[in-house]
C-alpha cells in the first residue's frame, strides 16, 4: 500500500506535507552542508566552522582507512573468514564527522555498523571482527575507549545512552565549564530503529531529565529492504520537536558539516542544555549485511546517483584543488590502507576459536554453584572422548 497524501482537514491544522515535506526528499532545504558533492566549500549561518588543513587531511585519512576496514571485512566474509559483516560503505563521513567531534570523556553507544566511530575512538579494528567471525560477542573493553559494545537489537542502546547521561548528570559532569570534565553521550541508531519504542522512550526520558545525550541517526534510507517512507511520513529530524528538543538534518556525506553539527550538539549537551537529534542524511551504498541482496528491492539508478555524492571524493577534490595535499600524501594513505587491510586479513585468520568451556565464563559476576556443576559435567564429558583436549 502506498502512502496517501496528507492533505488539509478543517479543524486539524495545515497540510503536514507542506509543513514538513516528505521523509525521503533529497536532503531538503534544511540540510546543513559545508562541502558540496562537487567539493565546493559553502558556508552555513549557524554551523560554520573553520577547519585547519591538518584536520581536513585527517578526515580524509580516517575515511579512506575506514572504507578499507569495510571492504577488507566484506572480502573476509566472502572468503568464509567472517560469518557476516554489516557494511558502512557510503556512511564514512557521517561516522568520522560524528566520531572526531568527541572529546575523550564522552561516551558512545553504537549500533553494529559504527566501524568508523570505533576507529575514531581508538578501538582496534581487528576487535570489531570477532563478533562477526563468531569468536566473541564484543571483544573490546567499553570503558577503555568509552565506546560501548555493538548492539544488535536495534534501538535498545539509545536507552542505555540516556541512562548513562543521567548518571553523568548525577556525577555533576555537566555545565561546569571545564572542557576536560563536561561530558556528552552519543546514541547511534538508524532510520529503521527510529520506529522502535525504545528510541521513542529514550527521547522522552532524555527530554524529561534534560540529559546530556546526542541522538545521532544515520538515515541511510534503508532498513534492510524497507525504504525510509515505511518508517516516517516526515523528515526524521522533525520528530525531535514533538519531544521537546531540537533536531537538525545534516548532509551525512559531508564530513565537515557532520563534524560541525555534531560538535555543536555535543557542546549543548555538555553545557547542560539537553538532548539534540542529529539526522545525518546519507545512503547505504552496500547491502544491509553481506547476507542481503539489494537488487531485489531497489533500483541501481538510485545507487548510481548517490555515487556522485561520495563522501571521500568530495574531500579529495577540495584538498587537491586548494593545494592542501600532494601526490605523496595521497599515495602514503593508500599504502597505509593496504597495510591496514593486510593486518586485518592476517589478524582475522589467526583469531582462534574460543575454548568450548569458555561459554560458561562470565554468565554471572559471581558464578552459581549449579552453573559450575554444569560446566564441570561438560568438562568431564569432553574428557571421555579420545584425544580430548
Amino acid at each position: 500500500m502506498t502512502q496517501q497524501p496528507m492533505g488539509e482537514t478543517p479543524g486539524f491544522g495545515p497540510d503536514l506535507a507542506e509543513v514538513f515535506g516528505p521523509s525521503q526528499q533529497d536532503g531538503g532545504p534544511e540540510l546543513v552542508q559545508l562541502l558540496t558533492p562537487e567539493g565546493e566549500r559553502v558556508h552555513h549561518p549557524e554551523f560554520d566552522h573553520d577547519f585547519t588543513a591538518e584536520e581536513l587531511r585527517g578526515f580524509y585519512r580516517d575515511m579512506v582507512l575506514t572504507r578499507r576496514i569495510d571492504t577488507e571485512a566484506t572480502a573476509l566474509q566472502r572468503h568464509g573468514e567472517l560469518g557476516i559483516w554489516a557494511q558502512l560503505l557510503g556512511q564514512e563521513a557521517a561516522q568520522i564527522g560524528a566520531g572526531r567531534a568527541l572529546r575523550p570523556q564522552d561516551f558512545v553507544f553504537p549500533t553494529y555498523r559504527e566501524h568508523g566511530v570505533a576507529w575514531c575512538r581508538g578501538v582496534d579494528p581487528l576487535r570489531l571482527l570477532g563478533l562477526f567471525r563468531g569468536v566473541d560477542q564484543g571483544g573490546w573493553d567499553p570503558n577503555a575507549n568509552n565506546f560501548g559494545l555493538y548492539t544488535i537489537v536495534i534501538g535498545a542502546q539509545t536507552l542505555h545512552a540516556t541512562g548513562y547521561a543521567m548518571g553523568v548528570q548525577r556525577d555533576g559532569d555537566v555545565g561546569t565549564g571545564d572542557p576536560d570534565r563536561d561530558t556528552a553521550v552519543v546514541a547511534h541508531f538508524g532510520d529503521g530503529a527510529s520506529s522502535q519504542g525504545d528510541v521513542n522512550e529514550a527521547f522522552i526520558f532524555a527530554a524529561s531529565y534534560n540529559a546530556p545525550v546526542v541522538f545521532f541517526c544515520q538515515n541511510n534510507q534503508w532498513a534492510i529492504s524497507e525504504p525510509i517512507e515505511r518508517q516516517s511520513r516526515i523528515p526524521l529530524y522533525q520528530r525531535a520537536l514533538g519531544f521537546g528538543f531540537p533536531g537538525v538534518r545534516v548532509d551525512g556525506n559531508d564530513v565537515l558539516a557532520t563534524y560541525a553539527v555534531t560538535q555543536a550538539a555535543l557542546q549543548r549537551a555538555r553545557d547542560g542544555q539537553g538532548p539534540t537529534l542529529v539526522e545525518a542524511y546519507t545512503y547505504r551504498m552496500g547491502a544491509h549485511t553481506t547476507t542481503d541482496d539489494p537488487t531485489r528491492y531497489r533500483l541501481s539508478g538510485d545507487v548510481e546517483s548517490w555515487k556522485l555524492k561520495d563522501p571521500i571524493a568530495r574531500v579529495e577534490v577540495y584538498l587537491r584543488r586548494n593545494g592542501l595535499v600532494d601526490e605523496q600524501f595521497l599515495s602514503d594513505i593508500q599504502a597505509e590502507a593496504a597495510e591496514l587491510g593486510h593486518t586485518l586479513r592476517e589478524g582475522c585468520k589467526a583469531m582462534p576459536d574460543p575454548q568450548p568451556l569458555s561459554m560458561f565464563d562470565h554468565v554471572y559476576e559471581e558464578q552459581t554453584p549449579e552453573l559450575q556443576a554444569q560446566r564441570d559435567g561438560y568438562a568431564a564429558y569432553l574428557e571421555t572422548f579420545e584425544g580430548a583436549r
Binding site: 535498545a156 536507552l159 548513562y164 548528570q169 519504542g197
Partner: protein
C-alpha cells in the same frame, strides 16, 4: 522487646532495607513510576525521596522499557539502580531490555561491564485487582541465563534480602508478594547476621513430606503443614527464597529423608518452577521417592477475573489435597 528489635510489616521491611542500602552506598538509586512523592502505589519507597532527593529517588516517565533501559546506562556509569515495576503484569514492555540487555551485557562484555541492577516486581494475586495486576512471571526470568531471581516471603527477609540484592554485582529480579505487603508483622532484629541471599531455608521441620514454596505461598504452606499435623502427618516446609540459582542442597536433603515432595506456587503449573524442581528432585532422589513429585499451582489459564481468583490460586485445601494424593501412590 529489646532496643534492637521492632515489629514490622513486609512493606516496612523493604522500605527500611532500601533506606539502609541508600545510606550505605550513595551510588544506589531508586527509579520507577510514582516512587517519589507518592512513595509508590504500595508505599514501599515512602519517604525516601524526601530524605534522599529527586536525583536518587527518581519518578520516571510511564515506560517500563525506558526504566530498565536507562538503568542499564546508569549501571554502566557506576551506579546501582533499583527499579520498581509497578505491577507484575507491567514488566513485559521491559522484557527485551531485561532478557536481551540486562541479562547478557556482563556475558557479552566478557565480564568487563557489571550490571548491578535490582528489578523489584510486586507479584502474585489475591488482592481483588483488575487484569495484569496479579501475575507470577518468575519462571520466565528464572529461565533466562544471566539473571538471578529471588522471592521474599516475610518482613524480616524483605529487610535483609533487598539489601543483599542491591549489594550483588549481578542483576537480580526481586519478587515481592504484594498481598503480604501489609498483612502480617514480624520481629526484626537488625543486629543479627542474615543468611546469604541465594539460599533456601527450612521454615518448619517435618519427617513425612517436603512442601516447597516461595513468596506468597509460604504462608499457605505453613498453614497446610499445621493442618496436616492435626491429621498426624509431619510436613517439612522449605521457603525456597532463591529461584535462580536454585539452592537444591536443603531440598534434596529433606526429600531424601521424607521420600515425598509437593511444590506449590501461584504461577501456572505448565513449565513453571514446580516442573524444574520435580525434574531435579527426580534426578537426584529417585530411589528415595515414595511418590512422584506433585505440583499445586495456578491453572494454565490466563489469570481470571478477581471474583473467582480464589479458585485459581492454590489454597490450603488444594495443597492438602496434593499432600493426600502423595500417599495414593
Amino acid at each position: 522487646m529489646s532496643d534492637t528489635t521492632q515489629k514490622i510489616t513486609l512493606a516496612k521491611g523493604l522500605n527500611m532495607g532500601l533506606r539502609k542500602a541508600m545510606e550505605d552506598d550513595d551510588k544506589v538509586l531508586l527509579m520507577g513510576e510514582d516512587v517519589g512523592k507518592l512513595g509508590g502505589v504500595f508505599r514501599i519507597t515512602d519517604g525516601l525521596q524526601k530524605d534522599f532527593g529527586e536525583d536518587r529517588v527518581i519518578d520516571s516517565p510511564l515506560a517500563e522499557s525506558g526504566i530498565v533501559g536507562t538503568a542499564v546506562g546508569m549501571a554502566m556509569r557506576g551506579y546501582r539502580p533499583v527499579v520498581e515495576i509497578q505491577f507484575d503484569g507491567f514488566v513485559y514492555p521491559a522484557y527485551d531490555q531485561i532478557v536481551c540487555q540486562v541479562a547478557k551485557i556482563h556475558y557479552r562484555s566478557q565480564g568487563r561491564v557489571k550490571m548491578p541492577i535490582v528489578i523489584r516486581i510486586p507479584f502474585g494475586g489475591g488482592i481483588g485487582a483488575v487484569e495484569h495486576h496479579s501475575e507470577s512471571p518468575e519462571a520466565q526470568f528464572a529461565h533466562t541465563p544471566g539473571l538471578k531471581v529471588v522471592a521474599c516471603s516475610n518482613p524480616v527477609d524483605g529487610y535483609w534480602m533487598i539489601q543483599q540484592a542491591i549489594a550483588c554485582d549481578d542483576p537480580v529480579i526481586f519478587l515481592e508478594p504484594k498481598r503480604q505487603y501489609h498483612a502480617d508483622k514480624a520481629t526484626l532484629d537488625e543486629t543479627v547476621t542474615p543468611e546469604p541471599l541465594f539460599t533456601s531455608r527450612v521454615v518448619r521441620e517435618g519427617s513425612d513430606l517436603t512442601l516447597l514454596a516461595y513468596g506468597p505461598m509460604v504462608k499457605t504452606a505453613l498453614k497446610a503443614a499445621e493442618a496436616a499435623a492435626g491429621e498426624g502427618r509431619s510436613i517439612e516446609v522449605i521457603d525456597l527464597r532463591t529461584l535462580s540459582p536454585l539452592d537444591m542442597a536443603p531440598v534434596l536433603e529433606s526429600v531424601r529423608r521424607t521420600g515425598r515432595a509437593v511444590v506449590t506456587h501461584e504461577a501456572h503449573v505448565n513449565l513453571g518452577m514446580g516442573a524444574e524442581l520435580a525434574a531435579r528432585i527426580t534426578e537426584e532422589c529417585f530411589y528415595s521417592l515414595e511418590a512422584p513429585v506433585l505440583r499445586v499451582g495456578g491453572f494454565d489459564t490466563p489469570y481470571p477475573a478477581s471474583r473467582i481468583e480464589e479458585d485459581f490460586l492454590p489454597d490450603l485445601d488444594r495443597v492438602l489435597d496434593a499432600v493426600d494424593r502423595s500417599w495414593e501412590f
